[in-house]
């Protein structure tokens, strides 16, 4: 075929070409050659107006791809099954999986290298390793969540778990008696107060950093950024030493809320800043060019544009502090009774209740209650999370 297909040796090449029209009816000088071409191509058995062609599969995994992957996995499993605990002096499930994985990689690369060149072998091994790494993380997450749900279920199915407190309930009393109402309410109040403090300050700081700017704002940004990763216990320690020791406050819900607010503020400030910064500068300029003041621009244009993103950052902040245990351990005394007044008397909260309950070696039901509270906390976080996703899908920056 080459002799006919190829073009002349001289530089003034004459192109060979073939034209086929999408639909036969287009009249042009080349149209008369179409039937001829069609017959050459053996297309004439299909009738004139071509059917809509069917897409051919791309990204196809060949039989060989799948067979070598599954074969290697099964083969290495069998091999390790045979050797493990007999030849290899190892024990435990984790060790078994590790051995299986190593054996799998060896066999898989050997199988691949029989057919493919080196880059393909490396590519396949890399893909296997990357996928496995992600799978381990996903597996650990799933295991954690499922495990905590299973542990918490016995306590969660009792209605009194939500409507009663632990006043006068013993460690071994059945799950049909007593509940964690005090902890739920405590968490709600503390998170509420913390949010009420941290949200305006956080968003205000973000507005300062993005809209006002200046040299000082860069310092603020650096400090805020560093503070987002402040060890949570230090916020508690700070509030404890300042309010309770120096100013002589009581351990109370307010103290706990303040500690949470200190943790939450940099988180909100930073994520809100990211959201505000992606509001297109053109929008601001358009508003200013219409004669709006900067305050009007921020209030009517910038903040509404970033609404969904701000809501997301708020909810992520709430989810983060709702489960915060370490600062509460220091500033909020635990109690077993209901207390809706954050200003005095210790006020319990979910994380604190969990921590307290699961550390009791004695008492079977108290531990079950602890797991129940942990599950409830996780459910709260999950719900907040789903809400965030919902908001984020609305519109607004996803990152």
């Amino acid at each position: 075929m080459t002799d006919v297909m190829d073009t002349p040796t001289s530089g003034a090449a004459m192109p060979t070409l073939r034209v086929e029209y999408a639909a036969g009816e287009r009249a042009s000088g080349a149209a008369e050659i179409v039937p001829q071409l069609r017959s050459e191509l053996g297309l004439d058995d299909q009738d004139a107006p071509l059917e809509t062609p069917r897409a051919r599969p791309l990204h196809q995994r060949s039989l060989d791809d799948n067979a070598s992957l599954i074969g290697s996995a099964v083969g290495s499993l069998a091999l390790v099954w045979l050797l493990y605990e007999r030849v290899l002096p190892l024990s435990g499930t984790i060790g078994f999986v590790v051995c299986w994985f190593v054996a799998f990689l060896v066999i898989y690369s050997a199988v691949t290298s029989m057919v493919y060149p080196r880059p393909m072998v490396v590519d396949r091994i890399a893909q296997a390793v990357v996928t496995s790494g992600a799978a381990i993380v996903g597996f650990a997450l799933a295991w954690t969540i499922i495990w905590i749900f299973l542990q918490g279920l016995p306590a969660l199915i009792h209605l009194n778990f939500y409507t009663e407190d632990m006043a006068g309930v013993g460690l071994n009393d059945p799950l049909t008696k007593g509940g964690i109402k005090h902890a739920i309410v405590g968490t709600a109040i503390q998170v509420g107060i913390a949010t009420a403090i941290a949200l305006p300050l956080g968003v205000g700081t973000a507005v300062y950093m993005t809209e006002v700017g200046g040299r000082l704002s860069r310092t603020v940004r650096t400090v805020v950024e560093a503070m987002t990763a402040l060890p949570d216990i230090l916020a508690g320690l700070f509030v404890y030493a300042l309010l309770i020791i120096t100013l002589g406050w009581q351990r109370s819900g307010v103290a706990a809320a303040l500690a949470l607010a200190v943790t939450m503020m940099p988180i909100i400030a930073r994520s809100a800043e990211v959201v505000l910064r992606v509001v297109p500068g053109g929008l601001r300029e358009a508003s200013l060019a219409l004669g709006a003041s900067q305050w009007q621009t921020v209030r009517r244009v910038v903040l509404p544009t970033a609404k969904a993103g701000l809501a997301t950052s708020l909810i992520l902040g709430i989810a983060r502090i709702a489960g915060e245990t370490a600062p509460l351990l220091i500033v909020s005394g635990a109690s077993s009774f209901f207390n809706a007044n954050p200003a005095n008397e210790p006020m319990n909260s979910l994380p604190l209740f969990i921590y307290d309950a699961v550390r009791r070696p004695d008492g079977l039901t108290i531990q079950a209650r602890g797991y129940g509270a942990a599950t409830l906390l996780l459910i709260m976080v999950l719900v907040l999370f789903v809400v965030t996703r919902f908001l984020a899908r609305d519109k607004g920056p996803s990152r």
């Binding site: 992600a134 503070m227 402040l230």
Partner: protein, 337 residues
């Protein structure tokens, strides 16, 4: 004040820009003022934590001097306190968490940005965010109740085969059939494993964010040369994302150093400098603070605050360096393609 120069414009010194009065409306002056005050307040408050802890540290350091850094015991009653043991313990737990968390976070980030099917990508990103939002007490519980019974087998294996390396040595006969499980529990290794679960989503999110910014043009150039996917990742994504990898890892380190509750649930506190991470007992700054504040008298509290200040200084330093790396990789290296 609006007219600075009486001469006609042509004669004005062009090198001297004229002063423009922004003429802000009152609402704007108020707005800018209020927002600036909020920003300064937050700045002050956050700095106050550092300054307050720092001031509290002064009397303690005056009292104990250098021995505060070299003493391992924490016995305020007998007037010997020092952070040598918790310092080593904190570093050990954090390094174990990184040793496990770094590769997993990197692989997960690569999987999400390069290997996952496109339609799953956003769900996977949310899943990582969710993982970051799971309260640490839940990871602590899981690590204590579920992971520990499995992980001690790994500890035993390491002790048996790598026991000649000091850090993996355990003072028990790991090879015997009835091996002492309790010598392997509550160790820095197990605590580090639990903490790794908390740092993985943090590091992973940063790394993935930077990988996603690797220019499409360079990716396609690699593919068009006949590169495999991994070849492209090595030639384009990893070099581009180096700043993000380093920054994310350092952020993870900062988090691991300060993690409290999961460590507190798992470890059994000891006050020796222990290099063998697999054997029972260790301690960290945050676990020390959380564990000892309840019984603390004024002097003890001051000592705890000093420990807190050192933890604060460590994490802030690490986080700041991390932030520099991440920000640099996001702006400087990004070629406009």
């Amino acid at each position: 004040m609006t007219v600075l120069d009486e001469r006609p414009p042509a004669f004005q010194d062009v090198a001297e820009p004229r002063v423009i009065d922004p003429g802000l409306p009152t609402a704007d002056r108020t707005f800018r003022g209020v927002v600036r005050v909020i920003g300064l307040f937050v700045l002050l408050l956050t700095s106050a934590i550092g300054i307050f802890l720092g001031l509290q540290a002064v009397p303690t350091l005056q009292k104990y001097g250098l021995s505060f850094f070299t003493e391992t015991q924490w016995e305020p009653r007998s007037n010997t306190v020092g952070i040598a043991a918790v310092f080593v313990g904190t570093i050990e737990v954090a390094l174990v968490a990184l040793a496990v968390g770094f590769p997993l976070a990197l692989l997960t980030a690569l999987f999400i940005s390069e290997y996952a099917p496109p339609r799953l990508k956003s769900s996977l990103v949310s899943l990582v965010d969710l993982m970051a939002a799971v309260p640490s007490i839940i990871y602590g519980l899981w690590g204590f109740m579920v992971l520990q019974p499995h992980a001690i087998h790994l500890s035993r294996w390491l002790a048996t085969y790598l026991g000649w390396i000091p850090i993996f040595h355990v003072d028990t006969d790991a090879t015997s059939a009835s091996w002492q499980q309790s010598s392997f529990t509550a160790s820095a290794f197990i605590a580090g494993l639990a903490v790794s679960l908390m740092v993985i989503p943090l590091a992973c999110a940063v790394m993935r964010g930077v990988f996603a910014l690797a220019p499409l043009g360079e990716r396609e150039a690699a593919f068009a040369l006949g590169s495999t996917r991994w070849g492209m990742v090595r030639a384009v994504v990893l070099p581009f994302g180096r700043g993000g990898i380093i920054g994310g890892t350092m952020l993870a380190l900062g988090r691991a150093l300060g993690e409290t509750i999961a460590v507190l649930l798992i470890i059994s506190p000891t006050f020796d400098i222990k290099w063998n991470i697999l054997s029972v007992g260790t301690n960290t700054f945050s676990a020390l603070i959380a564990g000892r504040f309840g019984e603390a008298t004024a002097t003890q509290l001051s000592a705890l605050l000093t420990a807190g200040f050192i933890l604060f200084a460590m994490t802030i330093a690490i986080n700041t360096v991390a932030a520099i790396f991440v920000n640099r990789s996001r702006s400087g290296a990004a070629t406009e393609i």
